[in-house]
Subunit: 473 residues, 2 copies
């Protein structure tokens, strides 16, 4: 660990000194947690997931949380903690993260055992180091720093934590849990601690995520596969018809053709577009990350605008007829496509689903029968740049990093929107992971320097929110 | 068996009387053959396939063929037989059929054991009854009738039989076998005995089959499936691009858009269209057979024209990305489509393949990599209505059925074209199966009356070809 810059007499310096001087113990404990293979997608690890939850609950008690509970769900348990502020008028903040991890095995290409954490060259390698154990756990160090440097015996805000255990399995019980426990989870703002920043040298604050609607369209033709010699050319082929629906989904400008799809969207302002454009975006780098050969998409928008701020329609899966080696001369009995639509602020999933349904069903030719179904949707969530709570995150990150932050968004969709919808609270994002951390991949790691900066930002955030909340309300 | 009509003093009557008086023994022997489960697609039946070939070889020797050989292939064996005419100037005729059958099990919905032949209501139920053992075996009875009623000790034509053992597995070694043995198989005309007629009461002669070109197009996008949230809307999706290729394959008139696709085709004459139109076609019935709800296809053509005389492009299989239950938010790494093109006289498969390749590859967007491959193709084959050998088949069928035949074609593709190409001989079709016979389905059967008419037609055909061959050459 390098010697922390910044004077000990300043708030920034005091937090930094505390964090750095307690980093060894912090990392030792985090490594303990990372040794638990809490893989929620693998039933054989169900006990490990529970053990990981219990471990975290113990550490939260050690940190001083007076209320720490394990909340069971029909799947893996969540951990809830609550530490009220002394001032009843202080704002309530709910931190969200998850304690489960993606599957991992040495044979996948790891250079060290995924559940035997190893520090090499300033990086901590382990499954969950960045996603999400490291980013949940830095809050314990941040909170200790906050208390120690302010001389408080309780946080400046009413601090709540909800750490779920099924995020890597699609959070199947999360929405119900939040709805059931809405009174316990009630908060003025939500801090999502499960994202990252632009890169190692560019501190950023994420301001929102896209929403998601998902549908499956099945076209049924002949009652069973029929001979393409005897009948080819004379009956509708469901795979051909399906391809036509998919092909019609976008126009030549890469815009989605479903009527009303773009209704209600506020276009990006020039300021927002400039903020995106100021990021050090390198197309070659981005394509490497996307494992793709070329960019493509909606005309008139940059790649970052396309993935962060524009809605999309993508084929996730398509199938029908013969799938084996070689050929088989049949007309398939049916064909399906799985589509997902990323949504942005202004697009209500229910309305989009209805529009997609109407559009798709109108394109089914005579002689085919269509079935269309939708999965549970996720709303987009975007916190305006001007929101005072967002400004607290910005200041906290700037204190930790010592330079101005830039702004990003997240193209994916997450439980953030559930929290916003159920709790009615704006959502903030505090994360220090970087794209090279290898989420879901072999050799997942977290940069130790950034992890400690996350703890610093966390320490600043509680004080800043307490100081500025009244201004905003 | 009903009493045969027709006077015994006429040629027609003599043949009929012979066939009917020997039908009991004939059916007894056929039932013996049908008990052998010679399923070429199931390795556990390899011995049965060989046993079925040996059985047939024995019966051909009993019939009088001086040359009967088992021809081994890398797969199942074929049976070859040759009985020269006494007149060296007589034409040589090669009869084609197959001794293997489709899989079958009582559990598939049969009303009696598929390999325990059973006669019910004038129909013989067994796997292979119509496809193709019954239609191969009626030639032995026909030949006996021919010899008995003409007083010959050898057939009027140099008669060859080639009965393959892998037709139900796609005839993978047939072309090579025919090429290797082309000298032994040399013939003036080929008679395919593996088809049928319009229906129970409409004797028909098939005049040709469509050809077949098959291709698989694979579009490769990201090196692996990537997250549709992080990258959706900004890189080319191979499944979407593939759907666009498929959607572009036909125009709004149902015509194939590949440039040059229709080049070289001789349009149907008004006479040919009238012959098709004279058949008792019932759309409701046809749709039931096609297990489909509506007809569709190339504008300006009837259903029969579409399936018999027009080329087509059909999707046989399409796939890519997530195939499981529910949803998965990915952009697929690749997507494929398997296409088959039915070809008609004038379309050379090699030229069509090149045209399809050029057309498809030109439609691949930047950033995707395409692979396209073609399976072995089959040429179309069509024997003109005016061909003298075809007229012999027509007369023989008319003698057997006592009324004028009509003309059909076959939409499928078969080894007929290999025989025509390698041997340079025109191809004739002699078949008495009907659509209700249930080829490849449970309760496959053959109509006993029609089976005996097939034997009669066979008996007439050798004499007619011998009588009329010289006229034509």
């Amino acid at each position: 660990m390098s010697t922390p810059p910044g004077g000990a007499d300043s708030e920034v310096g005091a937090v930094r000194t505390y964090v750095h001087s307690h980093s060894a113990a912090f990392l030792g404990e985090l490594a303990e947690w990372l040794r638990i293979p809490s893989v929620s997608a693998q039933p054989e690890h169900a006990d490990d997931v529970r053990r990981g939850a219990d471990w975290l609950a113990g550490k939260l008690r050690d940190t001083g949380f007076p209320v720490v509970e394990i909340w069971d769900t029909p799947g893996a348990p969540a951990v809830f903690a609550h530490w009220p502020a002394e001032d009843p008028a202080a704002p309530t903040v709910l931190v969200y993260g998850h304690h489960d991890v993606q599957p991992a095995a040495l044979a996948d290409g790891w250079h060290s055992e995924p559940f035997a954490p190893e520090i090499r060259d300033g990086k901590l390698y382990a499954r969950g180091a960045a996603d999400d154990k490291g980013q949940v756990f830095f809050h314990t160090l941040g909170l200790r720093a906050h208390l120690a440097t302010t001389g408080r015996s309780a946080p400046a805000v009413h601090l709540k934590l909800l750490v779920e255990g099924e995020e890597e399995s699609g959070s199947p019980h999360f929405r119900a849990l939040v709805e059931d426990r809405a009174d316990r989870l009630a908060a003025d703002t939500v801090v999502i601690s499960d994202t990252g920043m632009w890169d190692e040298t560019t501190p950023t604050v994420c301001t929102g995520m896209r929403g998601l609607a998902e549908c499956e369209l099945v076209l049924h033709g002949p009652e069973q596969d029929i001979h393409s010699g005897s009948f080819g050319g004379a009956v509708p082929n469901p795979a051909t018809a399906l391809a036509r629906v998919v092909a019609a989904l976008h126009d030549e400008e890469g815009r989605v053709t479903v009527p009303g799809f773009y209704d209600g969207i506020t276009p990006l302002t020039e300021y927002e577009r400039r903020l995106f454009a100021e990021l050090p975006f390198d197309e070659e780098d981005w394509l490497r990350t996307a494992k793709s050969r070329a960019t493509a998409g909606e005309s008139g928008h940059t790649t970052l605008e396309r993935v962060w701020a524009r809605p999309t329609a993508e084929v996730n899966g398509i199938g029908g007829g013969y799938q084996g080696e070689g050929s088989k001369t049949i007309i398939p009995s049916s064909a399906f496509v799985k589509l997902s639509f990323r949504l942005v602020e202004g697009q209500e999933p229910e309305r989009i689903e209805q529009a997609v349904r109407d559009w798709a069903l109108a394109r089914v030719p005579e002689g085919l029968r269509a079935e269309i179904s939708f999965a549970a949707s996720t709303r987009p969530c975007l916190t305006p740049l001007s929101h005072p709570a967002l400004q607290s995150v910005v200041r906290s990150m700037e204190k930790a990093f010592g330079r101005p932050v830039r702004f990003t968004r997240e193209g994916g969709s997450g439980p953030a929107a559930d929290l916003r919808d159920v709790l009615g609270a704006p959502v903030l994002f505090l994360g220090v992971s970087v794209p090279s951390d290898g989420w879901h991949a072999p050799d997942e790691k977290v940069e130790l320097d950034l992890l400690l900066k996350g703890a610093e930002a966390s320490a600043h955030l509680w004080q800043d929110l307490a100081d500025h909340w009244s201004e905003a309300h």
